[in-house]
């Protein structure tokens, strides 16, 4: 059994300078509650691995605005000019990765595989981030597995062993990240007794989830 703890208690375990995977896609399935706790705790120098940087001062954008982040690995920062500015000014290191490749790099780490072989990015500047290899008679871009110290994810339901369900487009990177980090912290909208979620609905097994936190909702939290 994992008794849910407060967001503040959960993020207290995260040191400055840690690498964090954060689930969600443009704010959908984003762990808003945990992000706000990171801001409140004044974390610094974080590396954030995520699909995008959300909008200015919203979701992951909160971490950018509050100066918590020194390095971002992501596929899209188009709706967050603050990250773009940080990239151009050199205050934030930004690694841009094609979205499908990013998903597979995270999966490879979580699944114990050696990395990704993809056609995506061949003949473009994205190829420089990886290594071009010739296998099975074809060229592929090889990208290594991507892991993190912590994964911060958002689930629709959790049982008290940490089994998780997601809803609709709030799945996205959450189940992949849950397997790819040393410590997994999950905020859930609803807590269910063990045995009441159908085994066919669980998408993340409780054995990989370390800490459960009640989510304050599934919408952006307004900064104080």
């Amino acid at each position: 059994m994992k008794n849910p703890i407060t967001p503040a208690e959960a993020v207290a375990q995260i040191p400055d300078g840690a690498s964090l995977m954060i689930g969600g896609f443009m704010g959908c399935g984003t762990p808003y509650t945990l992000i706000e706790a990171l801001v409140t705790a004044g974390k610094k120098n974080l590396t954030i691995i995520s699909n995008d940087n959300d909008r200015v001062n919203q979701g992951i954008g909160r971490l950018i605005r509050e100066g918590c982040v020194s390095h971002v690995i992501t596929s899209h920062i188009g709706l967050n000019p603050e990250t773009q500015k940080g990239m151009i000014d050199g205050t934030i290191k930004v690694d841009l990765v094609p979205q499908g490749t990013l998903a597979e790099q995270i999966r490879a780490a979580g699944y114990g595989l050696g990395g990704v072989l993809t056609k995506t990015g061949l003949g473009t500047v994205a190829a420089k981030a990886g290594e071009t290899v010739h296998l099975n008679g074809e060229d592929w871009i090889y990208m290594p597995p991507l892991k993190a110290d912590f994964a911060l994810i958002h689930a629709a339901q959790a049982d008290y062993t940490g089994n998780l369900t997601y809803q609709l487009t709030a799945q996205n990177f959450n189940p992949l990240m849950a397997l790819a980090a040393d410590q997994v912290i999950c905020e859930a909208l609803e807590f269910m007794p063990v045995g009441t979620i159908s085994p066919d609905l669980v998408r993340t097994p409780g054995v990989v989830v370390d800490i459960l936190v009640p989510a304050q909702g599934n919408r952006p939290i307004k900064p104080n």
């Binding site: 899209h76 995506t120 500047v125 992949l176």
Partner: protein, 218 residues
Amino acid sequence: MEYQEIIQRRTARELRPHTLVNLGIGLPTGVAHYVKHEDGVLFQSENGIIGMGGRPPAGAENPYLTDAGGNCVTAVPGAMSLDSALSFGLIRRHVDTCVLGGLEVDETGRLANWMVPGKIVPGMGGAMDLVANAKRIIVAMQHIAKGQPKIVPKCTLPLTADRRIDLIVTDLAVIEPTEEGLVLREYAPGISVEDIIDKTSARLIIPDVVTEMPIAAK
């Protein structure tokens, strides 16, 4: 007719019944308005749904059901949710047609649409996966931006993929990139072939038959 509507109506005719289609954010998203439900075209949104529908009525938005821009959408009957790995598995192997905007398309049919170095660095998002892998790529864009032709001899911006895209649909013309070069297929109503040549900095191949764009409702 607004330029967006011309492009969207014409692009809609390219979508094949009972196939999976990915529409990029912005102008391409609007293509869905001109696709009839009975054609059975299924829209995939790379953030994690097959069977994406239009905007929900006010008050019926659910934060767990969004498009790739984070805006609330609906699901059609027979929809399915996906994680990002499966979503891009489908993009690399099973998406039939992808419609995206463009910054530049050149005479070899190469597309640049994801960054302007030193100016705009949005990131490629899913665009590189889509353009490198989807079966058919349609670039839906204005013919001219800020007075400058977007169909150029050679892309000056970083490429999205080293792949010849399949069709360019603009507010002025439909152009097919081929091994021989860019072939003009259609002109928009009221636009002459000379107008198009004039507003295209790339060399265009003009075949004997160039037809008017069919943009009325099907």
